[in-house]
Symmetry: C2
Subunit: 248 residues, 2 copies
Amino acid sequence: MALQDIHSAHVDCGDCPIRHRAVCARCEADELSALEQIKYYRSYQSGQTIVWSGDRMDFVASVVTGIATLTQTMEDGRRQMVGLLLPSDFVGRPGRGTAAYDVTATTDVVMCCFRKKPFEEMMGKTPHIAQRLLEMTLDELDAAREWMLLLGRKTAREKIASLVAIIARRHASLNLKRAGGAMVVDLPLTREEMADYLGLTLETVSRQISALKKEGVINLEGKRHITIPDFDRLLEEAGDDQDGGMLV
Amino acid sequence: MALQDIHSAHVDCGDCPIRHRAVCARCEADELSALEQIKYYRSYQSGQTIVWSGDRMDFVASVVTGIATLTQTMEDGRRQMVGLLLPSDFVGRPGRGTAAYDVTATTDVVMCCFRKKPFEEMMGKTPHIAQRLLEMTLDELDAAREWMLLLGRKTAREKIASLVAIIARRHASLNLKRAGGAMVVDLPLTREEMADYLGLTLETVSRQISALKKEGVINLEGKRHITIPDFDRLLEEAGDDQDGGMLV
DNA sequence: GGCGATCCTTGATGCAGATCAAGACAAGAA
DNA sequence: TTCTTGTCTTGATCTGCATCAAGGATCGCC
């Protein structure tokens, strides 16, 4: 099973799929082997909660494989997703003891974890880690701000188009395959999760996806599999000028 | 005039009002004097644009006095404010050449600037700066994510109450005066700017402020001066559990 | 094959906030 | 004083999305 695979196959950081994108991306061989000694893997099943908001959190981690979400919940149950964690994304905050958000596995997830204390010590000794973490945090801040524009000012239709565009772009940048004109994506989220991300209801999400499909902006096969015949058309629908933006 | 005052009075970082909160907060005396040699002040008048989105930006800076805003604009003119910059907040991103947002002075503003190149070099040599910048960036990310919840899920009334609460809290933390029960704040933003921050129209902002006033949640004197008789009541209206959150 | 469970779609209706419109208020200029 | 300009308030109406409601599709399981 996948869990076993990861636990055995990835003991060597050199073979790690996120070696060149994660918080360790800038590390030299010696730094990497120091990290290697304090790391450990953990696996979570799809749907499982990785961290509860408010809980004590004594580790930080990188997503190795799978997708997780960061969500905030109000007392009356209203939910807003505030981050989508893809492979290489970092979870947790050095210098803070409790989690600020719920972290949930949307697919099966494998994380590369470090206990907080040793990691913080390493950060002090290893500027390459701190540098990379700063860079990643700044990227996330940009992504969050782009999302603020979406949440505050875009229509439901534009929100959906933006989400599809962002997922497609990320997909392309990770998998580096782009079949000429048409792009292909699988939505990693349910309609409800999309709604939580976009500040909509799941019904509105469903309706707008249907509308974009009917008008040929996207093609749907099943519920999750999307092909995008004309990416520029999609960006137009998203209300993004030229290039939009790259989420984290 | 204030401009003169600043230019002469604050040549010494030791006397700087943001010495212990800005990006230089952690610096030792020697590091500070190195920074001192490359810094320079710039002043902007209320309403003036400090940086245009997309423009080349060859400096980074800290807000010393005054208030500035970070906004994003869509081609059709829809605007969303994505950050409110108070004294000690940092502007610009090491490792990037162009500005991602419009930065606008909402009041008269004095900034402590560093040309990007020398600042980046200093950052490499001075971990205290990089550390502090990481910390500030993580705080901003938290604030941005809190704002995502507000934009995506809160009602107009809750949005207004949240904004007032956040400004009041910041005000209190900067000025350290809290007259027993009642808090006093001056809104640093016009109704339109508030609307841009909250993802509303200025009419809705006006109506909700009137409603909160009528119901005694806040008291208004003139258009900008607010007193808050019962802060917990305000937080309740904001939909925040216990403490809400601290915007950067 | 039938039966739940989960996820998704679609329709009917309602309402919060946008839009359109008119004027109030204050400060400065002529 | 009167006019102008910028800012804010308030009313009337409209509309995009939420809400309420009813099924459909797909899956695994007995």
